[in-house]
């Protein structure tokens, strides 16, 4: 097909042709997100899990809860340990072995986001002050990479946190050891609901939810995370071409509407899970 050849020879020009008609190669407008599919609780060996598909970008988040002694300086707090893993499975651009740059950057972004947005308060994770606390290992693995990793990760983490069921724990006086009752499980209280929306800058245009190709062609990215009160949890613009203040306001507006969409999606999802 001529278009195929043109696309590989001159990707930039090919892409600009579409932008002129204010649409994109996969038929979306500039401000339209890909179809988002969320599947919750599919991994029974994890305490909470969620699979998120943003178009072809597939990310699975599994949460394992374990015991640990709380940190010495803050004895009433537990831990949340997020880690993003980009295996060679999801795209041939990632090599096997220890996490690469992009994976480490994403992990750090998730760790900062959890800290700033207080999605789960660490005090809720404390079982016995100074002695025993929960550690939530949130492992996010990308199964199929097609751009916009951060939005998918944040959504997967949020859905998985909502799905976490922690067993009841009692401290046995004589032995001083914990005793776990697996039958009686309580859900984790999720205080805030951060939702991310990522944009890429292309010449003078701002495009939402980029695919891997669009990410490679773009000259800068912005990720805005808002919570349910519309407050900003984090604005993340790692360099790239400059962005006008006004344009940033449009992005924030778009991020808020994105938040409503995802919130509606998650609420119907949680209802349908509780229903079954």
């Amino acid at each position: 097909m001529a278009a195929g050849g043109f696309r590989t020879v001159e990707p930039l020009e090919y892409y600009r042709r579409f932008l002129k008609e204010n649409c994109r190669p996969d038929g979306r407008e500039l401000g339209e997100f890909r179809t988002t599919t969320v599947n919750v609780g599919s991994i029974t060996t994890a305490d909470g899990s969620a699979l998120v598909k943003l178009g072809n970008m597939t990310v699975i988040c599994g949460i394992k809860a374990e015991f640990a002694a709380p940190p010495v300086d803050s004895s009433n707090k537990g831990y949340i340990v997020p880690n993003v893993d980009l295996p060679p499975l999801c795209s041939s651009r990632f090599r096997p072995g220890p996490p690469g740059e992009e994976a480490q950057a994403a992990s750090q972004f998730m760790a900062d986001l959890i800290e700033n947005s207080q999605v789960v308060r660490k005090e809720d994770l404390c079982i016995v002050d100074g002695k025993l606390a929960w550690v939530l290992y949130c492992d996010i693995i990308c199964l199929d990479y097609d751009g916009n990793l951060l939005d998918a990760c944040v959504c997967a983490l949020l859905a998985a946190l909502k799905n976490v069921q922690l067993p009841a724990v009692r401290i046995n006086e004589e032995t001083g050891l914990a005793e776990v009752n697996l039958k009686e499980k309580t859900a984790l209280t999720v205080r805030k609901e951060p939702v991310a929306a990522s944009f890429v800058l292309f010449d003078s245009l701002v495009i939402v939810d980029p695919t891997a190709e669009e990410e490679d062609l773009a000259t800068g990215t912005v990720t805005i995370v808002t919570d349910e009160e519309g407050k900003l949890c984090s604005v993340h613009k790692p360099g790239g071409s400059a962005l006008m203040g006004a344009k940033l306001q449009d992005c924030i507006g778009r991020a808020k509407t994105r938040h409503k969409e995802v919130k509606k999606l998650l609420d119907t999802l949680i209802k349908s899970v509780e229903g079954t």
Partner: protein
């Protein structure tokens, strides 16, 4: 283990709550099968079989657990089937990710990897079919395709990989108290006939995939997203 700077660090030491369940109050949970995925082709034949940290029932699998053994087992079983000579300067990169260990993980990974290789259009002498067995403790019987609780309680485990039409064993990995050679031999026979029974199922799935792909290329209609419960599409 040298300090791992590349991952967000948690506490040095944490224990799985399952260790603190008072004995006798054990629970059983349904074991859906693990999953593995297609492979991008790259330079040097690389076989990788990793377990997701949340895939195991007990403690969270530390990344540096005995991974190389599983990857090596995958490589040993798949190499006889792939005609690597046909691709002198290319690299076949097979990576399998275990999302949930519901028992017979290696066998599932081998079947999935065999199918993935076929689906990727790589020339194979034959499809690889694998089957797992485990022996109940104290001289018990050999069980075919054990579930996770059975595998945990088993005295011996065995995974057999077969090239069905050539009737050649391409992979064999077993350990534990299997008893004298003839009991192992009986287990291998049981495993081989299990593979033969599994073989038509894999062929059908391949045929379905090819039909679906040819159907796609004729009329490139928008492929609707497969929706499973409880899933909601915005």
């Amino acid at each position: 283990m040298p300090l791992d700077h590349r991952r967000v660090p948690g506490p040095e030491e944490s224990q799985a709550p399952l260790l603190f369940v008072p004995s006798g109050a054990k629970e059983s949970e349904p074991p859906p099968a693990g999953a593995a995925h297609r492979d991008p082709t790259a330079l040097q034949p690389l076989f990788e079989f990793r377990r997701a940290p949340f895939s195991g029932r007990g403690a969270r699998g530390r990344p540096s657990d005995r991974e190389p053994e599983l990857s090596l087992a995958l490589q040993e079983a798949l190499e006889p089937a792939v005609r690597l000579a046909r691709y002198p300067r290319a690299q076949v990169d097979v990576s399998a990710l275990l999302l949930q260990d519901g028992g017979s993980a290696l066998a599932a990974a081998l079947c999935a990897a065999g199918l993935a290789l076929a689906d990727a259009g790589i020339e194979l002498y034959d499809l690889v079919v694998a089957c797992a067995l485990c022996r109940a403790p104290s001289e018990g019987e050999w069980l075919l395709q054990p579930s996770e609780p059975e595998e945990r309680a088993a005295a011996a485990r065995l995974t057999v990989a077969l090239l069905p039409s050539l009737n050649q064993v391409s992979g064999l990995l077993g350990s534990g108290e299997g008893g004298p050679p003839d009991s192992w031999a009986q287990a291998v026979r049981l495993g081989l006939d299990g593979c033969q029974r599994l073989y038509p199922l894999l062929r059908q799935s391949l045929l379905r995939a090819v039909k679906r792909r040819t159907a796609d290329t004729q009329e490139p209609s928008e492929r609707e997203e497969a929706v499973e419960p409880p899933v909601v599409t915005a």
